[in-house]
């Protein structure tokens, strides 16, 4: 893969894996909630908790395109970026474009609220409850469950926006975003810059980040 000089890696494998696992889990979580399969809802929710924690840590320990600080800096170019979009002079960006960065922050924020409230939610009959609900009263747990429900609407709205935006880029702006999120790679010629940062998941960074995330999930499981 690295031997093909025509392609450059944009997304490291953990970013892609976490992304698609989140897609599958959101669908499973939604479905298990609708069907009242609360045992599975909890298992999937804890897995999602691990993924969200991992992704947030990876935003500091991961490869350059996964990191939050460069993303945050790039937000400064939002105005010019949107102007280019309007003028029809959009060009592919290496890593997240400024609008995509807003999407990353919003989606991760909404997912964090969703898994966080899920931990403390209590169902109306007081029987089903999140793994940490033992620490809150029935009525607080009910209020948190209301936020859990409301925030799902926010989350699904953000996801719809995200999907629509990707389709607009793919089909209207002819910016090929979907294949790179699968393979990680993009033709070198898509980018104007002469030198691009090398994108690779560091082995020890991964072990450490995944270890912390797994430790958090483990302590939730053993909290009560």
């Amino acid at each position: 893969m690295a031997t093909n000089p025509e392609h450059h890696v944009v997304w490291d494998w953990t970013v892609r894996l976490v992304h698609w696992l989140m897609v599958i889990l959101v669908l499973l979580l939604w479905w298990t909630a609708e069907e009242g399969m609360m045992d599975w809802h909890k298992r999937c929710g804890l897995t999602m908790l691990g993924l969200v924690i991992f992704r947030i840590i990876w935003g500091f320990s991961g490869s350059w395109t996964a990191r939050f600080v460069p993303m945050f800096r790039r937000l400064g170019s939002l105005g010019g970026y949107v102007r280019d979009l309007k003028n029809g002079s959009h060009k592919p960006v290496f890593g997240h474009g400024p609008l995509g960065i807003l999407s990353v922050f919003a989606l991760l924020g909404a997912l964090s609220v969703q898994v966080g409230t899920g931990l403390f939610s209590v169902d109306v009959d007081g029987l089903e409850s999140g793994p940490l609900a033992i620490w809150v009263s029935f009525s607080t747990g009910r209020d948190i469950a209301d936020i859990h429900e409301l925030n799902f609407d926010i989350l699904s709205t953000l996801i719809s926006l995200h999907v629509v935006a990707i389709l607009v880029y793919q089909f209207i702006l002819k910016d090929n975003l979907i294949p790179p999120m699968v393979t990680g790679k993009r033709p070198r010629s898509d980018f104007a810059a002469s030198s691009l940062p090398s994108i690779k998941a560091g082995f020890w960074a991964f072990v450490l980040s995944a270890g912390i995330a797994a430790g958090c999930v483990y302590s939730v499981l053993n909290a009560v």
């Binding site: 109306v124 009959d125 007081g126 029987l127 609900a133 029935f138 429900e149 699904s156 709205t157 719809s160």
Partner: protein, 176 residues
């Protein structure tokens, strides 16, 4: 479901755009005025509609509270039987008289906030059967709690929870 949500989103976006295009309209004020003195109607039992609805909310809330308390004990691995027994007794006590909590006129068009659905009064006998199912299960739960066997208590609690759910699925509005 997701479809419905996306649909809802599109509709509300369109609605907001339309509204702002038309400028302000005074409709919402008129609508809230109509319900300003809702709930003061006196029922046959002497309570106002608002009082009746508050009474059942408080009692149901207390029942939920008790069930969660018992559930938390079971989850903890070393359950305190005294706490579970007290909670179970309180479920029995608080659910006594539930058959009278939903008189005619305390439904969704009473103007008072309630999650009770109008179908309750379309099939009252079935609703009352579900009330007595729950009360029966609550009595069994309390018996099991007296027995002190955690597995039996857990089983009886699941049964009881099933009777709550059976009624809520049909007669209680769920916002999702």
């Amino acid at each position: 479901m997701l479809n419905r949500k996306i649909g809802l989103l599109c509709t509300s976006v369109a609605g907001v755009v339309l509204l702002s295009a038309c400028g302000q309209s005074g409709d919402s004020e008129a609508a809230s005025e109509a319900t300003s003195d809702a709930g003061t109607t006196v029922l046959a039992n002497g309570m106002t509609v608002a009082e009746q609805i508050k009474l059942r909310h408080d009692a149901l809330e207390a029942i939920g509270d008790a069930l969660k308390g018992a559930g938390d004990q079971l989850k903890s691995g070393s359950p305190d039987m005294a706490v579970i027994q007290a909670a179970a007794a309180s479920v029995v006590e608080k659910s006594t008289g539930m058959e009278d909590w939903f008189p005619e006129g305390t439904g969704p068009d009473s103007g008072v906030e309630t999650d009770a659905l109008a179908v309750i009064w379309e099939d009252k006998p079935d609703f009352l059967t579900k009330v007595s199912d729950m009360q029966g299960a609550a009595a069994k739960f309390s018996e099991a709690a007296q027995g002190g066997d955690a597995a039996a208590i857990g089983g009886a609690m699941k049964e009881l929870g099933g009777t709550c759910k059976a009624c809520h699925d049909k007669y209680r509005k769920d916002d999702d």
